[in-house]
Amino acid sequence: MSKPLVIAGKRKDGRKPQEYRAPSCAVGVTENAQGSSYVESLSTKVTCSVYGPKQTVDDPAEACDVKVNFTVATFAEAAYKRRHAQQPTSEDRNKAASLEEAFGYAVLCEKYPKSRIELNFLVLQRGVDDYAASVLAASLALMDAGIEMHDIVTAATASFTANGETLLDPTSRETRRAVATLTTTCLPNLGSILSVNQSGTSTSETTEEGIKLCCKTCTALRDVVATTLREAAEKNG
């Protein structure tokens, strides 16, 4: 039997099971984009650039389109997983589709008729929570661009162990050994959940508890994001 993930109430890196490490964020990192951001979480580094609203190439609609380009750098993963940048995996395409859907809800699309908003993600280092970090990066970049949104979109990840513990903001080692990993995206102030993704099997009670925990974390992350923006605004005068 391998060592349990939580020993005496502490994980390997010293955190409590339900302690998350807030990511460090910055805005305005890309000059050419309308809005941009950089998010560095436990194991993920991702940058998001927002271009738009610009003229759509599709048939005009009463609301804007949110288009996502999700690129993972060739050096983003461990050596054995390295692959050509030109071949996006189906997982990345799913993530891009989820992000499009989530931000299609969050952005006030009716205010930008016949336009498209492009979110370009570049994952520099890929960890377990690349989707959650991308969601935060996109929220920051959209706010930096001044695009109107219903609320700040935040996301959190949790893992369930075989011993029945829920670990918040897991490391890659913890997810490899866990029974299931859950990512929840929500609009914290409006109290609505945009998406729930789980890989692995767990009971419905465990999942429900995990979702509630993630939602609480999302609310706390919203304050982190708001603080980043306020500091950036104060610095710019």
Partner: protein, 210 residues
């Protein structure tokens, strides 16, 4: 559309004027109540007024709005006054690259189309040829002030220069010098004195930069 589960989850408390707000923050006036109307950067959700952008909440001319410093990217909406460069002139249309919307510079150009029917009002035009020939109203590389009258099709917005204050603002003559407005229909080259036909924009007091 996201549903509000419970009103109590929205941030409550202190009045918002002067504070930095982020999207989803509830805006409250001095009495701690939600104002009925909101200006730019706000949206109503049920009985609450929420901020939709990250910026400073201000009470501006009786309405609550959220203002942010920094570049914003406008999009053309029906009724907007735009400035654009004439890219191409056809028999009865002109393609215009819009670079400025309602006095705000755009980051990307939007494409607009000006039809000759929307250039001159029939009863005002002395010369019936001007009604059917676009070439007599605008020329390529002219800067034109137009109004957006429709969202158009997938290629371009619909523009109009029917009003007196809409039309050619800047242009170059065929001799290469700048043109100066002489009346509603003509402009004169400042280098050679040659008179050219244009649908001229007769500036009104709204347009302070000219």
């Amino acid at each position: 559309m996201p549903k509000v589960q419970k009103a109590g989850k929205l941030t409550a408390g202190v009045p918002s004027a002067g504070r930095f707000v982020v999207p989803g923050d509830r805006l409250l006036d001095a009495e701690g109540k939600s104002p009925l109307t909101g200006g730019e950067g706000t949206a109503r959700l049920g009985t609450h007024l929420l901020a939709t952008i990250a910026g400073y909440a201000q009470f501006d001319k009786g309405v609550f709005c959220v203002k942010r410093k920094g570049k914003s990217s406008p999009t053309p909406a029906v009724g907007a006054i735009v400035l654009g460069t004439v890219a191409k002139v056809g028999g009865n249309f002109a393609n215009i690259d819009i670079f400025c919307i309602n006095k705000k510079r755009c980051h990307t150009t939007f494409k607009g189309t000006l039809r000759v029917e929307d250039t001159r009002a029939v009863f005002q035009s002395l010369d019936t040829l001007k009604q059917v020939e676009m070439w007599r109203n605008v020329k390529p590389n002219d800067v034109v002030r137009a109004e957006v009258i429709g969202l158009g099709d997938r290629k371009a917005y619909q523009l109009s220069v029917l009003r007196d204050e809409l039309g050619v603002v800047f242009g170059n003559s065929i001799d290469g010098h700048q043109l100066v407005a002489m009346g509603a229909d003509t402009m004169q080259c400042i280098g050679t004195g040659r008179v050219e036909e244009r649908k001229v924009s007769l500036g009104g007091s709204d347009f302070w930069w000219l």
